[in-house]
Amino acid sequence: MNGGHDLGGMHGLGRVLVEENEPPFHSDWERRVFGLLWATFGTGKYNVDEFRHGIERMHPADYMTSRYYEHWLHTIERNLVAKGYITDEEVEAKTRYYLANPDAAVPRREDPQAAEAMAKLAGVGAPTRREVEVQPRFKVGDRVATRNMHPTGHTRLARYIRGKHGVVDRVYDAYVLPDTNAHGLSENPQYCYSVRFDARELWGDTAERNQAVYFDLWESYLQSA
């Protein structure tokens, strides 16, 4: 979707603000939200494409004015409600409770085996690579063009790269396609390619010189040029 998350090439956002010796988490709620990702996505309640799409659907103004882990909080809540694990009413009521009782503790349940298993999973990973029967359509050196498509659902074809010409730099394996997987449709795995785009192709004659963007694309995002 053409959401507020699709930021490549946007102007006017100001200077990058670097915090020296920044800690991974700035507050306890950020820690817990990070942990909730493992508790929910980690246990397969929704997939990574649904996670990302939940964030993309935030209103652009809200996306820009909220903090990073608030995006995670938003999408975790939205996905859990959509999948029927919790209801909006439950969340609102519980939130009101903790607002009224800030010192109330969150209940605890211990399961050391589950904790250990999740830590192991972190070291193994959850690849979205899939075996497919077909061969890649494109090879290194092929000239390709990205499609001019504007789906209302999830895609990883950023706006700044649509309808552009590039050259295939690398051919990767086939991966689950986010455009279908984010919407409860099939995994539909397709080959991915790293495609090189010269800066001038993307940004016109005033582009910085001697620069290229390498963008990873699923096969259905591409056509021959």
Binding site: R109, E110, W203
Partner: protein
């Protein structure tokens, strides 16, 4: 007839920005609902936080780079298949199931970004800093990298150096193999790793000098 004064239009949406108190309460609400419904456990959350807060970070990527600097065969394997090469060192996992390492040379400088969200090679770098995840970096780095590197990071690259910006749009996770600094001949892997910073692995800095 009294003059009717038009009021200002309301803000676009009413949900954000949220107060700290609300965010804290909502986070507790979610966790407590999941616990009460038996859908998760508290120590799982504790453990995963601890893993990424303490154990997984850029020191791991620094080790990989240091080995590539001293061992040419490892370097070849790293550039060929970074996932397998890192696995030789027990490094790998979530958000690094498919890693690619791109090499800086005197004529090519690589820098990593995720314009669409915040994809980052967790197994070698840990969790990304805020500046990597926020709109300023994500918007700028693909359109004016040379200027952004100079202005925001103090890294001046002459125009003769070609800049490759890797937009992490799929599931491949990129990191940079920075150039080995001069004056480090004969050093051990452990000594060399100290010169490799997180920023050098992302590509917004060169390695530290001895």
């Amino acid at each position: 007839m009294s003059a009717q004064q038009a009021g200002s239009p309301p803000p676009i949406t009413g949900m954000y920005p949220r107060s700290e108190a609300e965010v804290v309460a909502r986070t507790k609400a979610l966790e407590s609902l999941l616990i009460e419904k038996g859908l998760t456990s508290s120590d799982l959350i504790d453990k995963m936080v601890s893993l990424y807060e303490k154990d997984i970070g850029p020191l791991l990527g620094a080790k990989v780079v240091a080995r590539a600097w001293v061992d040419p065969a490892f370097k070849t394997r790293l550039l060929e298949n970074a996932t397998k090469a890192c696995a030789e060192m027990g490094i790998g996992g979530v958000q690094g199931e498919d890693m690619v390492c791109v090499e800086n040379t005197p004529t090519v400088h690589n820098v990593i970004v995720c314009t669409l969200c915040s994809c980052y090679p967790w197994p070698v770098l840990g969790l990304p800093p805020n500046w990597y995840k926020y709109p300023q970096y994500r918007s700028r780095m693909v359109i004016e990298p040379r200027q952004a590197l100079q202005e925001d990071f103090g890294l001046a690259l002459p125009e003769s150096v070609e800049i490759h910006v890797w937009d992490t749009s799929a599931e491949i996770r990129y990191f940079v193999l920075p150039e080995r600094p001069a004056g480090t001949e004969g050093m051990t892997e452990e000594e060399l790793a100290k010169f490799v910073t997180r920023d050098a692995l992302i590509g917004v800095a060169k390695t530290k000098a001895p």
